[in-house]
Structure formats: structure tokens, C-alpha cells
């Protein structure tokens, strides 16, 4: 494990294995972080070759960690690498994000709250009306196994022994999945999602050591259509209006003050990227 870690910053994984260009989403996110946070550093872990990364991306990413994803590598899915987040992060304190999440205002004060834990997973999620919700159909597996309602879309960890134990647990569960799943109810997943891995790790180490449910602002707006009471057959983008107003994202005429997990990758249009490029340039 690299000991050369300094400061605090944001980290995401951009592993391109299919049609979605996660590095492009990470670029949008990096611009968004620079536009909304104070002196924020941004690191990306990607399987895209450094020579294939556009220069304008490199100008915004503070750290790029390249990893190999090929048939000989030990990682088979995009999620496998995330269990090594503690190794990849260049920061002493890290907020790890899913690439399709954007901030709408500074969350500088969250760092103070996060420091009450070595690891802190976001708990529950909000709908666009700001109401914490649990949609059973997305979390039946969690309910069946009494797993904490954590989301890996946004989490904090400090470079520390407890954080190492958390990620060790996640890797252990991932490596022993064929065995672990025999003890779980209604388990049909061939490989565990990161949410499931982290929920099980939280259960192993003590849910109270890696969550702060009482700080209900530490979560995000989940824009999966069904999460907001709409049909999953239609994207939220085609259901309600959205627009930018400064740093704020307005969805269906309501300002979003929590981070927005936009979920539908079509949201990341060239126009949106250009919008944040302009905002970052304006700040410089």
C-alpha cells in the first residue's frame, strides 16, 4: 500500500468495459467538484490508457491511477477494483463517489462530520423532493438479509487501520462469494454489487462503526425513475424538466441541494460538460 498520501480529496472509478464511457462521466464530475467545492482535489482510477485520455481531462484530474483490465488480470468486473480503493487513493481522507453523481453546493462541512468515523457510508437516499425513501423493490435482497440500507454512491474513508479492515472485509466477501451467498436469502447474484459488498462488510464490522444514520444529510438524491414514484420504463430525463441554475440542479422545478445521482448516463450531455467547463474557467 502506498504510504504517500496527503490531504483530502474526491475519488472515483472509471472502468470502461461496455458502452458507457465512465471516464467522460468522471471528467464531468471532476469539473463539477472543482466548480462547487473549495480547493478540491480529484483523483480517478481508470483502465483507459493514459495516451488515450484527452488532454483537457488530464488538466482537470489531479491524479490519474491507471489499472489494467484484461483477461489475465485478477479483476473480472468493474466493481472488483473498488475494494482496493484504500490502495488507489492518493489522499489521507477520501470521499469516494460513483461517477454519475454531481454536487449542487459545497459540502465542505461534511468533512467535519465524516471525521467522526474512519469509514462512513451514505445511508438511505432521497427522492428529488428531498424525502428519504427506501423503495422495497430495489432493496428486497437487503430487507431479506437485514442488511443496512447503505449506498456506495458516496462514502468517506480515512487512511487508517479500521478502513483497511473494512476494505479487507469487502475483498474477503468478494473472494469467497460462492461460499458467502449460500448463507444469504434470495441471493441470485453471481457476483456481488458494491452496495451489497459494503453492506455485508458493515454488518461484519458493526454497522454503527461505518454509518451515521442520524446525520441524514449524508446521502444523495437518487434519480432512478422508480425511486421517484415514476415508471422505470421511462427515464426521469424524459419525464420531468431539468435545468442548471448556477451550481444548483433544478429537477421538476425543485432545486436540488443534495448531491444528485443522475443514474441515466444520457444526462451527461456535451452541453452539460461545456456548462461546467465554463464555470470552472470562470473560477480560475
Amino acid at each position: 500500500m502506498s504510504q504517500d498520501k496527503t490531504g483530502q480529496g474526491f475519488l472515483t472509478f472509471a472502468i470502461n468495459l461496455g458502452e458507457v464511457d465512465y471516464l467522460r462521466l468522471a471528467y464531468l464530475q471532476a469539473l463539477n467538484v472543482k466548480a462547487t467545492q473549495t480547493d478540491a482535489k480529484y483523483a480517478v482510477v481508470t483502465n483507459v490508457c493514459p495516451i488515450d485520455i484527452p488532454d483537457k481531462y488530464k488538466a482537470v484530474f489531479d491524479h490519474i491511477n491507471h489499472i489494467r483490465y484484461d483477461p489475465e488480470s485478477k479483476w473480472q468486473s468493474a466493481f472488483d477494483a473498488e475494494a482496493y480503493a484504500l490502495y488507489f487513493t492518493p489522499f489521507k481522507e477520501t470521499i469516494k463517489l460513483e461517477a454519475d453523481l454531481l454536487f449542487t453546493r459545497s459540502i465542505d462541512h461534511w468533512w467535519t462530520a465524516f471525521r467522526l468515523r474512519d469509514v462512513c457510508l451514505s445511508y438511505d437516499a432521497k427522492n428529488y423532493m428531498g424525502i428519504n425513501r427506501t423503495i422495497k423493490k430495489y432493496r428486497e435482497f437487503f430487507d431479506a438479509n437485514n442488511l443496512p440500507n447503505v449506498y456506495n454512491g458516496l462514502m468517506y474513508f480515512r487512511y487508517s487501520r479500521p478502513a483497511k479492515e473494512f476494505f479487507d472485509a469487502a475483498r474477503y466477501i468478494s473472494n469467497k462469494w460462492e461460499y458467502v451467498k449460500t448463507g444469504l436469502k434470495n441471493c441470485i447474484e453471481d457476483s456481488p454489487s458494491t452496495d451489497v459488498l459494503y453492506a455485508l462488510s458493515a454488518l461484519m464490522l458493526g454497522e454503527e462503526t461505518v454509518t451515521m444514520p442520524s446525520m441524514d444529510f449524508i446521502n444523495f438524491v437518487h434519480m432512478k425513475s422508480g425511486f421517484n414514484g415514476w415508471s422505470d420504463q421511462v427515464s426521469w430525463i424524459d419525464t420531468v424538466m431539468n435545468e442548471q441554475d448556477g451550481d444548483v440542479i433544478r429537477i421538476n422545478n425543485l432545486n436540488q441541494y443534495s448531491p444528485v445521482h443522475y443514474h441515466d448516463k444520457n444526462y451527461a450531455t456535451d452541453e452539460l460538460i461545456e456548462y461546467y467547463e465554463q464555470r470552472v474557467l470562470a473560477r480560475v
Binding site: 420531468v240 421538476n252 422545478n253 425543485l254 432545486n255
Partner: protein
């Protein structure tokens, strides 16, 4: 210690009544008796030039009002609905603190006086319940919750003026706001206009601070009789079992009942 130099704010009730096939002015005459008894405040009627109100109002203000809107009544019949121009209440109200009421709202206690004392810019009901449970309160399946403009308590202030100015703008550009807010029904509703104005005015946010902190009780069914009895209200319906509830203000949607002799008798019983 009270400030003896502080001038007393004027307080009063404003009701709008424009006759269509429904005699809203006659309904207002009757419901005003309930208001007078339970709130003991002056009442101003805003109506058209043809109306012949019988109740002794503090003031009768006559205005031109646009027609052309329709709605479904409790029997699901289309009826004309002259509900434009509610935004005029801010300018026309002669009072510093105003309780703006629909004529189908029966004031049977003094709870609205406590709202005036809260001295908010404005407040209205975000929620309403009925004997069938909570009432649906969304402007559409892909839209936002509406508020009930049946009761609006407001103090004259810059913020309140902006609210009413916004309602005018929304009324004037209603097709645009229907599209923007995914509103399913296209007939103009003050419930929707005030809800949209409230959201915009509070920074594109549903601010709970303007909610009247109790639910409005609405009777959505066809009413045969209402009886006030030992601080309870008994409501008898045409097509369902009667209900008993504590005496409270109620919103009665059945305009046929409100024009009936049974309702006049009810008002007489209550007001003595």
C-alpha cells in the same frame, strides 16, 4: 410589557362570490353568518356588479371577472366556474391581516384567529383529509403537490405581494405553467396557481413554513344534512353512512347542499 404606541392591525375576512348556475352569493351570505359568529371579524365580499348580497358585509367590492372556466361538481357534471382573479385579494382586501376564504368553507370554530396571531406572511393548507382518508393533492402523476387555496391567511408584506403578483402571472400564462409543471388538468385552479407561486417564491422549494399546521377536513360526498350536537358534527350523506367528528371548520364541496334549506337551517341552528 406591551408597547402602548403600537398601532392595532386591522383584521378581517374576505370572500369571493361570483354567481354561475350556482348561487355563490347566497352561499356566501349563509357561510358569512358562521364566520361572523365564530371569528367576530368584519367580512368583505368581492363580487360582480349584478350580485345582490343579503348579508350585512363590512364592504362589498364589485369587480369585473372573466368567465370561461369549467369544473366537475360532486355529481361529475360540468359547471361554469368563475375562479379567476383571486390574486386581486391582496390589493382589494381592506385589512392588514386577511383571512381569505372560499364560500364553501364553513367556519365552525375560532382556530383561524390563532393563525392571524402567528403573524406569518401567509399560510394555507398543504394537506386535506376526508372521511375517506387523505385527499389526493398532486397536480399530476409527474407533477408536484398542490396547496388548498380554500383558506389563505395573509398579512400585507413584500413577500405576500410577490405571492399574489406571481399568481397573476401564472393565471395570465397558465398554458405555459401547465406544461412546465406537468399539470394534467387544463382548467385553471387557484390551488395550483398558489402552489406554483409558493414553490417559486421560496427558491424552488416546498417550504413547510407556510403550511397551516393542521389538515383541512373536506366533505367530498353529496350531503343530506349537517347537525352540530354537543361539540360534535354529524354529517349525513346521500350514498354512504353518516360520520361523527369533533366540531371543526369543514370544507363542503357539495354546492347543491350549500344552496338548500337544510343548510340554511344548519346555519340558523349554529348561529342561534
Amino acid at each position: 410589557m406591551q408597547n402602548s404606541r403600537k398601532s392595532e392591525k386591522s383584521k378581517g375576512v374576505v370572500v369571493f362570490a361570483f354567481n354561475t348556475s350556482v348561487d355563490y352569493v347566497a352561499i356566501a351570505d349563509n357561510t358569512s353568518k358562521l364566520i361572523e359568529r365564530n371569528l367576530k371579524l368584519p367580512i368583505t365580499l368581492i363580487t360582480d356588479h349584478d350580485a345582490e348580497p343579503q348579508f350585512e358585509y363590512d364592504q362589498v367590492i364589485r369587480v369585473d371577472v372573466a368567465s370561461g372556466n369549467i369544473k366537475l361538481d360532486v355529481s361529475y357534471q360540468q359547471v361554469e366556474w368563475k375562479n379567476f382573479g383571486r390574486y386581486l385579494a391582496y390589493e382589494l382586501s381592506p385589512y392588514d391581516s386577511t383571512v381569505l376564504l372560499d364560500v364553501d368553507y364553513l367556519v365552525l370554530d375560532d382556530s383561524l384567529l390563532k393563525l392571524i396571531d402567528l403573524n406569518k406572511d401567509y399560510a394555507f393548507h398543504y394537506y386535506s383529509s376526508s372521511s375517506n382518508g387523505d385527499l389526493y393533492s398532486s397536480m399530476g402523476p409527474y407533477s408536484l403537490p398542490f396547496i388548498w387555496a380554500t383558506v389563505i391567511v395573509f398579512n400585507k408584506s413584500d413577500k405576500t405581494k410577490m405571492l399574489f403578483d406571481l399568481v397573476k402571472r401564472i393565471q395570465d400564462n397558465y398554458d405555459y405553467y401547465c406544461k412546465l409543471y406537468n399539470i394534467r388538468e387544463r382548467n385553471f385552479r387557484n390551488d395550483y396557481a398558489f402552489a406554483i407561486a409558493n414553490i417559486i417564491l421560496n427558491g424552488y422549494h416546498i417550504d413547510p413554513g407556510h403550511n397551516i399546521p393542521w389538515k383541512m377536513f373536506t366533505i367530498t360526498d353529496k350531503v343530506d344534512r349537517l347537525i352540530v350536537d354537543s361539540k360534535n358534527i354529524r354529517a349525513y350523506f346521500t350514498n354512504k353512512k353518516p360520520i361523527l367528528m369533533p366540531q371543526q371548520n369543514i370544507h363542503v364541496m357539495d354546492k347543491a347542499y350549500l344552496q338548500s334549506t337544510q343548510f340554511k337551517d344548519f346555519v340558523t341552528d349554529v348561529t342561534g
